[in-house]
């Protein structure tokens, strides 16, 4: 049976208490914030609990919020069994973002976490194979951070060409 956002949230609160933050938003985009270190447990519970059964991690995205000083990892969960959705958010400090991995819960998270590591520099603790996935191994920095500055050249290859339109 599909559960509504309030019911989902209540079930989470009942199990984890204050680890799960208050309910934000509604409908498909209803979300709750979770402590970085506890996300794996929460994920495990969400996947195995027969009433919730979030068998699919639709999307895992990292967002850099320099003003708030944290990087937010957003987990979009979906249950093919019950056809309901929920969003989890995890805020990790910008200077040393560390989040527990959920790759053991959802296999899809493996590559998604590697992408977040590659592009935002979030370390997923316990990830079996945390390597860069899109960028070259020796690329400096993490491009999707707001303060990322593109290097002038990479291995002697300029990264941009002179605009022909400069007067």
């Amino acid at each position: 049976m599909a559960m509504d956002a309030a019911g989902l949230h209540a079930r989470l609160r009942e199990k984890f208490g204050d680890v799960v933050g208050p309910l934000e938003g509604s409908g498909r985009n209803a979300s709750a914030t979770v402590a970085p270190a506890r996300i794996a447990e929460v994920g495990e519970f969400l996947k195995t609990d027969p009433a919730l059964r979030f068998d699919c991690l639709s999307n895992l995205s990292g967002v850099d919020y320099p003003k708030q000083g944290h990087i937010q990892i957003v987990y979009h969960l979906f249950s093919y069994l019950h056809r309901h959705a929920f969003v989890l958010r995890v805020n990790a400090p910008r200077d040393n973002p560390q989040v527990a991995t959920v790759s053991s819960v959802w296999s899809h998270a493996d590559w998604q976490e590697r992408e977040a590591f590659d592009l935002l520099g979030v370390t997923f603790e316990g990830h079996p194979d945390l390597r860069r996935i899109l960028m070259p191994e020796d690329w400096p920095g993490h491009p999707l951070r707001k303060d990322f500055v593109e290097p002038e050249s990479y291995h002697g290859i300029p990264t941009s060409r002179e605009s022909l339109l400069k007067a």
């Binding site: 985009n29 093919y80 590559w111 996935i133 899109l134």
Partner: protein
């Protein structure tokens, strides 16, 4: 031994009656005829049998998500064409949907119908390339050219509709950029009339050909649980027998008003979720798309095709996650706005990205030739993986 970042373990085994054998490490791609763009697989093989195939992606990474943060809401639309250039309409649609939900814009009815027509044409367009190149990867060249022939007809239709053959940039935030040209609907009907019999002919030519079936049936079956766990989407998920279609189950646009079936893989030639099921689901989806198009042609109302949208769009701060059914399945757009003229973050979750992540799991102990069939049956499109 290190091979461009991959620690590949050289294994020596003595199981062949005392003969010392050594595994062969093959680098398939990035320049290989059937890796559809620039994928690379590091294959550890014992003769023709693969022990593992590790995908190496990123060769086509164009930092589209970073570009989104720099070019503004309207300006990013043409870039979405490049996310999946085989089915650009869906990326247009996804970005438009996300922006509209953030900014609270309602699309006129006719605009929605134009979008659905364009989407479904694009689905046929993409599936034709998918099944055609699949046949070619299996070694049959003629079905590929037949598919490309029909695709050419569609290209002409698109060209008339929006002026481009590949990077359409047809949709705009709030609707579509151009109304259907005069006489275009007739051409579309003409296309449907000739195309539906051609699907049958295509089936007779290749789909049920004994050799083709033997090459695909029972190869790399994916169970429904695995498919969901790895978040496969679209035809790959439905090939595993999960009847889930975003158009049907979480409807957007005017899909609730349209009637269509969701074909799923039943293991008719082998096991459920094998390469053949994924292939045949695509063939059947093309028929369903034709059915949707026929309904749209009749039902399309008059009226404006685009809502009034300010040129300098500044959606209120917030985030939204929209899903839509692209040719490669459930495409997710997570867009964060901070209330300025530039998006704060755009994350695109694509079907090919999750599809390729399952390759190491399903390709164990297959032949090298089977890996080609697996890549083709998952319908991987490299730009969509790397973005």
């Amino acid at each position: 031994m290190s091979l461009a970042g991959f620690e590949v373990e050289v294994q020596r085994s003595k199981d062949d009656g005392g003969v010392v054998t050594e595994d062969m490490t093959l680098s398939m791609g990035p320049q290989h005829p059937s890796t559809h763009g620039v994928l690379r697989f590091v294959i550890r093989a014992d003769g023709e049998v693969m022990k593992e195939a590790i995908p190496d992606i990123g060769y086509l990474h164009r930092s589209i998500e970073k570009i989104a943060e720099k070019v503004g809401w309207h300006g990013f639309l043409p870039y979405t064409d490049r996310v999946d250039y085989v089915a650009a309409m869906f990326c247009n649609h996804g970005w438009s949907l996300a922006s509209e939900q953030l900014a609270g814009i309602e699309v006129p009815k006719r605009g929605e119908y134009c979008r659905v027509i364009a989407d479904e044409l694009c689905r046929i367009h993409s599936h034709l390339l998918g099944v055609g190149s699949m046949a070619m990867d299996i070694g049959a060249f003629t079905p590929f050219t037949h598919a490309i022939r029909e695709r050419e007809y569609l290209n002409d239709l698109f060209e008339e509709l929006c002026g481009a053959r590949l990077t359409f940039h047809y949709m705009r935030i709030g609707g579509v950029g151009w109304d259907l040209p005069a006489g275009w609907i007739d051409k579309l009907s003409h296309f449907l009339d000739r195309f539906e019999p051609l699907i049958d002919e295509y089936d007779r030519l290749i789909s049920f050909n004994k050799i083709f079936v033997e090459r695909l049936a029972n190869v790399a079956p994916i169970t429904a649980e695995e498919a969901i766990d790895y978040n496969l989407a679209g035809p790959n998920l439905r090939g595993s027998g999960v009847r889930y279609d975003v158009r049907k189950d979480e409807p957007y646009s005017v899909y609730p008003e349209l009637e269509f079936d969701v074909p799923i893989g039943t293991g008719e030639k082998g096991t459920v979720g094998d390469c053949f099921d994924r292939y045949i689901v695509r063939m059947r989806e093309m028929r369903e798309s034709c059915r949707i198009l026929r309904q749209c042609v009749v039902q399309i109302p008059d009226g404006p095709v685009i809502a009034k949208v300010p040129r300098n769009l500044k959606p209120p701060a917030g985030d939204v996650y929209v899903r839509l059914e692209s040719a490669r399945g459930d495409m997710g757009w997570y867009v964060v706005s901070d209330g300025t003229a530039f998006p704060h973050r755009c994350k695109i979750r694509t079907g090919s990205f999750s599809a390729i992540s399952i390759v190491p799991k399903i390709s164990r102990n297959l032949m090298i030739a089977d890996l080609i069939a697996v890549i083709a049956s998952l319908d991987l499109v490299a730009p969509e993986i790397d973005r």
